[in-house]
């Protein structure tokens, strides 16, 4: 039996000026074919101007169980948001 083609994660830039976004995955023998297949699977209605493909095994992901330690530290730094600071009305827009 033939071996299964590797899995690729597909990222599409929807329009100029936007970043690439993950849209899904597909199987293909190599990167070149993955791009061809991605065109047919994910951009049949003009959804893209650029395609990135990454073999799924090369992606490392944060673990859901680490969500707390990973993201909590940013929760208590309200001063990072501009609305933390009161600017006197007389000063005007800032």
């Amino acid at each position: 039996m033939s071996k299964e083609w590797p899995l690729w994660e597909i990222f599409i830039r929807g329009q100029h000026g936007m970043s690439h976004r993950h849209v899904g995955s597909l199987h293909a023998p190599d990167a070149e074919m993955a791009i061809h297949n991605a065109r047919d699977v994910y951009t049949r209605r003009n959804e893209g101007v650029s395609i990135w493909v990454v073999e799924a095994k090369n992606i490392s992901a944060s673990a859901p169980s680490e969500k707390g330690p990973l993201f909590d530290p940013s929760n208590d730094k309200v001063y990072r948001h501009p609305t933390f600071f009161d600017i006197p009305e007389e000063v005007g827009a800032m």
């Binding site: 033939s2 071996k3 299964e4 083609w5 899995l7 899904g24 995955s25 597909l26 199987h27 023998p29 190599d30 074919m33 047919d40 699977v41 049949r44 209605r45 992901a61 673990a63 859901p64």
Partner: protein
């Protein structure tokens, strides 16, 4: 509905007291409409049931290409041919989105395909009926895709993230399928006497099988409670079937086509149409492999897979060779 008889794993819906801490946290997320993502903890029964449901849905999209593919070379105009090609290509795409969603649950594509090809996995009963005349292509888009949309729209809100995202993509494209079908059958219904007869003939053959797409009647649908608690099923089979009938009858009236059901009648009290009993024996026969085209459909699928093996192997060999060459060049340069 493209997944008609998905047996939910587990021993029925657990009460909160019966759940352990992980199960309770999981159910709380679902109740709050927080999506479950691939790496999140989930009950094994949820995973297994979803694999079965999503893959059954994917298989239906793939096998669903066959009855329509039958007419690509015989479409009456170049425009209709191009539309049908695009539609069938969409179905392949929908199958691929759904296979990807199923794979995030830890099953391989080859395993899924093996299950389809061996007959272990099911696909929608509707694709085991033949497409005998050109108006059938209209009936499929209008009725079959129309019935599919009924089910797929609420599934966009399903609890499993990758499944929900696949459904959103699919729903965006599905409306084209239904409208091209209605447009096609409108042309036939408003055409010559012979064309109108073909449209009615298609209606006569596809109406009841379309109603069967929603799966067994609620009173016989034993696995719904758990699937609904998990939000992988949003409405009951009979709810969706009724909605479909109510939506479709006026569309048929506009075309001057008769619905082949002597018991069909507007119920003023319910503000809904009553319709005749469905032949459930036929449904169970078709879903278990004894429909008019089950053997032909599965045979065509297996043949395509086997005939394509040398090609898949060749592309793999080519990719391996290219990778080896690149590696050697890098080594030589170093």
């Amino acid at each position: 509905m493209y997944a008609q008889m998905v047996k939910a794993d587990g021993k029925g819906v657990k009460s909160r007291e019966e759940m352990d801490a992980e199960e309770r946290a999981f159910q709380d997320k679902i109740d709050r409409d927080v999506k479950i993502e691939p790496k999140d903890w989930m009950p094994e029964a949820y995973r297994k049931t979803l694999i079965r449901q999503i893959s059954q849905h994917a298989h239906s999209e793939i096998v669903g290409q066959l009855p329509e593919g039958n007419w690509i070379t015989r479409a009456p105009t170049l425009e209709r041919k191009a539309i049908l090609l695009a539609k069938v290509q969409d179905e392949a795409g929908h199958g691929l989105y759904l296979y990807c969603a199923a794979e995030t649950l830890g099953v391989s594509r080859d395993d899924l395909l093996d299950q389809l090809h061996s007959g272990k996995a099911k696909y929608s009963s509707i694709f085991n009926y033949p497409t005998l005349n050109w108006a059938d292509i209209g009936a499929i888009g209008w009725l079959v895709d129309g019935a599919a949309i009924m089910n797929q729209v609420p599934l966009q809100r399903t609890s499993y993230g990758p499944y929900s995202r696949a459904m959103i993509r699919i729903c965006k494209e599905e409306s084209f399928h239904q409208r091209q079908g209605y447009d096609l059958i409108t042309k036939m219904a408003q055409g010559t006497k012979e064309q109108k007869a073909m449209a009615q003939d298609a209606m006569n053959r596809f109406w009841r099988p379309s109603l069967m797409m929603f799966g067994p009647s609620d009173k016989d649908s034993v696995h719904s409670a758990q699937s609904m608690a998990w939000k992988i099923k949003i409405n009951t089979n009979d709810e969706l079937r009724q909605k479909f009938v109510d939506q479709t009858v006026p569309q048929a009236e506009y075309l001057g086509l008769e619905i082949p059901d002597p018991d069909l009648e507007w119920n003023e009290e319910r503000q809904s149409y009553d319709y005749g009993e469905i032949n459930w024996d036929e449904f169970y026969q078709v879903i278990s492999g004894n429909g008019p085209c089950n053997k032909e459909r599965l045979g065509a699928r297996v043949k395509a897979w086997e005939d394509g093996e040398w090609f898949r192997d060749a592309l793999t060999a080519h990719a391996d060779k290219k990778a080896a060459k690149k590696k050697k060049q890098q080594q030589d340069a170093a």
